[in-house]
Amino acid sequence: MIRPILRRVGAGVLVLWAAATAAYLALLAAPGDTVDAIIGDGADTPLIRAQIIQEWHLDRPAVVQYADFLWRAVHGDLGRSYLLQRPVAEVIGGQLAPTLKLAATAAGFGILLALVLALVARRPWVRRLSSTTELVLVSTPPFLIGIVLLSVFSFRLGWFPVSGDRGAAALVLPAITMGLPIAGTLAQVLRDGLDRALEEPFAVTARSRGLRERSVLVRHALKHALLPAVTMLGWSFGVLIGGTVIIEQVFGRPGLGQVTVQAVSSSDLPVVLAVVILAAAVFVVINTVTDLAYLLIDPRLRRS
């Protein structure tokens, strides 16, 4: 049990390093001068330029700068934002909470809705209706869903705030917007898994014991259907983090999305790198959790 975990952690570190390095190289190759980025709208004189180069050690070779960046990153120091002149950890840390709150709520809503759709909508015509709706949800771009929801429930009915992050009400529409496509995909995978499990011999055995169809579904088939669904869910979480960038714009919410867009458009290298490392870390964590969930669900995989 210990060895596979160690191997996983090792692989995770490798992924983080690769992601950080790739981002570093990409930003190095991007047009634009670092000094320009740091100056921003401030005064631009040769003296200030020299000072900046001195202060940020920009005169050193790229390899040394890269090694320095890695060394500090390993020690938890992600550097200072060029634009905001504050530590990156502080910039990101302040915006992490609203994004995580949104992502978690959206995922929770999506999972719940998917379970309801897959487990409850089992009669042939309800299934067809539900299946079609799911397909529409999956194939509609989230920002479009967001705009439709906004115009109906905020502008017309005035039930929810149009933008911002004040209170739980402000979370409802963005979470639904992001949760619906997840629910759509997940419900399809779950339903497929349930159907397959119900055709297995053990389902016949379960019925022959006098179980209700609902018990066969929940007590036996569901666990089998969860295996592919967990894979799907891990993937959706990743997409979710990326998706917040757009949704936060549509709903005018604070969060990582806003920070990222700003950092990219103003070549704020340290912030962009930090966001990339964070996204990679999220993927590593989610993949590990997914693999552990497999072991939890399916005892056949526990043999080492």
Partner: protein, 515 residues
């Protein structure tokens, strides 16, 4: 008969309304089961035997329409049962045991949980007593260490133990009727014998049994009466004794012939050595799966390799076929080195060495037609039909897909593909284990015929001694990766030298046909 019959069925018809066609699975079947009786329904796959049994517990299947002039269970008219009545009845009045416990028990739940579930549904005892009751049930079916076993999952148990656990779960509701649908088909012969003994024990204790099997030999020992089904009808119904001393229906006679075995001997002397393995040894991790095995196969010879699951017979096949490199030892094929050489060196010989697997369905590309599957093995432009004719298939299967064929037809296609390049040796890994006995006999005839006409050598791997006896010239008995006994089939079967061989032989179900 008497008023007390547990099951009374008259003119039972089960029809499946599928999207594109209607299938009449059961066409007017009538029978009764008395308390304490053991009745067997025997027939090949598709005869409607399973559907008949499942209709008795209201589980004929999705899309099934069940009609009967009479369908009485426990003295009640089951035709009027609401879903609630059926649920009370299932598990409580009748317990169902299916074929393979690895998939018939929920693989994601412990066997203890599976047994307790029945106790819960039927409200047998308080919740606190259920665990202990589950242990008692496991003990009743002779599962050693029931406390430990109850906490394990089906895949952690041996085939015999999990089949026992499945039977324990069927008994948990205290049913008056136990329906066992091919309860031993997935098991090795010795384990099969143990399970049959367990069922005989239940019967001696007064349980009523309904057995379903494709193999008359398996149920003959147990059953009082046998119903022979074919194409949805009962073609013969008699006491087991009467049936064995003289069956009326030709189909029953065919079943009896298939069950009593028939030697297929060759007239030709074996020729030069085709394949030779010396001191084969294969170690995985720190486990030696194959230890010091020597095999020689000569032209026109059929060598049987017999052993139970886990004895290493499949690994031996993989070593001979060059799929796996031996840890030590050597394989030679047609006089050339076949192990310890790069695949490049083996490739020119590949066409001379063919393989037939147990389940051809997974060995064929499901999107290919029979024509394409067989043509692939033939020189470009050669007609496929004559080859199919050789293996006893009509031209109308040419454009079908593997899934649209019966098990026997599929195995014939596999044989056609294997003989197409005119190989000198065919390795057959359990080629008839998934087939009904009557179909088994036909496929064995076909293989014997090919050996006779082409002089092809066969290495025939099976856990079924009966099949080996009917087909092979020589036999090697494999146990724990070692050859514990070998020799001409007749000699080994008449005077088994090794204890293990004796045990295997004792377990083979055979029909004692009285003249």
């Amino acid at each position: 008969m008497t008023e007390s019959a547990l099951v009374r069925v008259e003119d039972l018809r089960v029809t499946f309304h599928l999207p594109r066609r209607t299938v009449e699975a059961v066409r007017g079947v009538s029978f009764e089961i008395e308390p304490g009786e053991c009745v067997a329904i025997v027939g090949e796959s598709g005869s409607g035997k399973s559907v008949t049994a499942r209709a008795l517990v209201g589980l004929a299947g999705p899309g099934a329409r069940v009609d009967a002039t009479r369908l009485e269970v426990d003295g009640q008219d089951a035709r009027r049962f609401a879903p609630r009545d059926w649920r009370r009845f299932r598990g409580g009045f009748a317990g169902l045991v299916l074929q393979d416990a690895l998939v018939s028990l929920d693989p994601l739940r412990t066997v203890g949980a599976e047994i307790s579930e029945v106790l819960r549904v039927h409200g047998r005892g308080p919740r606190s007593a259920r665990t202990e009751q589950a242990h008692r049930l496991l003990e009743e079916v002779h599962v050693p260490e029931p406390e430990r076993r109850a906490g394990q999952y089906p895949h952690q148990l041996s085939g015999g133990l999990r089949q026992r656990a499945l039977i324990a779960s069927a008994l948990a509701g205290g049913p008056r009727l136990l329906i066992a649908d091919e309860p031993t088909t997935a098991l090795d012969a010795t384990v099969q014998a143990q399970i049959l003994t367990l069922l005989a024990e239940r019967r001696a204790a007064g349980e009523t049994l309904l057995l379903i099997s494709h193999d008359l030999a398996v149920v003959a020992r147990l059953a009082d009466r046998v119903l022979v089904m074919k194409d949805g009808r009962i073609v013969e119904s008699a006491t087991t004794r009467a049936l064995l001393s003289g069956a009326d229906h030709p189909y029953t006679r065919q079943l009896i012939a298939a069950g009593s075995g028939r030697r297929r001997v060759s007239t030709a002397e074996p020729g030069p050595v085709v394949a030779e393995a010396t001191a084969l040894r294969k170690v995985y991790g720190d486990r030696a799966v194959v230890r010091d095995v020597d095999v020689t196969v000569r032209r026109g010879e059929i060598v049987g390799l017999v052993g139970e699951s886990g004895s290493g017979k499949t690994t031996v096949a993989q070593l001979l076929f060059g799929l796996v490199e031996p840890t030590s030892g050597q394989v030679r094929f047609e006089g050339r080195r076949f192990s310890g050489v790069p695949e490049r060196a083996r490739r020119p010989l590949r066409r001379r060495l063919q393989f037939i697997a147990q389940d051809p369905l997974s060995a064929f590309d499901p999107r290919w037609t029979v024509r394409r599957i067989v043509a692939e093995a033939l020189p470009r432009g050669t007609a496929v039909a004559p080859l199919l004719e050789r293996v006893g298939l009509d031209g109308d299967v040419l454009d079908r897909y593997p899934r649209q064929l019966s098990g026997g037809q599929r195995q014939r296609v596999a044989i056609a593909r294997a003989i197409a390049p005119r190989p000198s040796l065919i390795i057959c890994d359990e080629p008839v284990s998934a087939l009904d006995v009557s179909v088994q006999a036909q496929v064995l005839d076909l293989l014997a015929g090919i050996r006779e006409s082409d002089g092809t050598a066969l290495l025939f791997i099976s856990h079924d001694l009966g099949v080996i006896r009917d087909l092979a010239d020589r036999v090697l008995v494999l146990h724990d990766g070692r050859v514990v006994e070998q020799g001409p089939v007749q000699a080994v079967f008449d005077r088994p030298g090794h204890e293990y061989t004796r045990r295997l032989l004792a377990a083979v179900p055979t029909l004692e046909v009285s003249a």
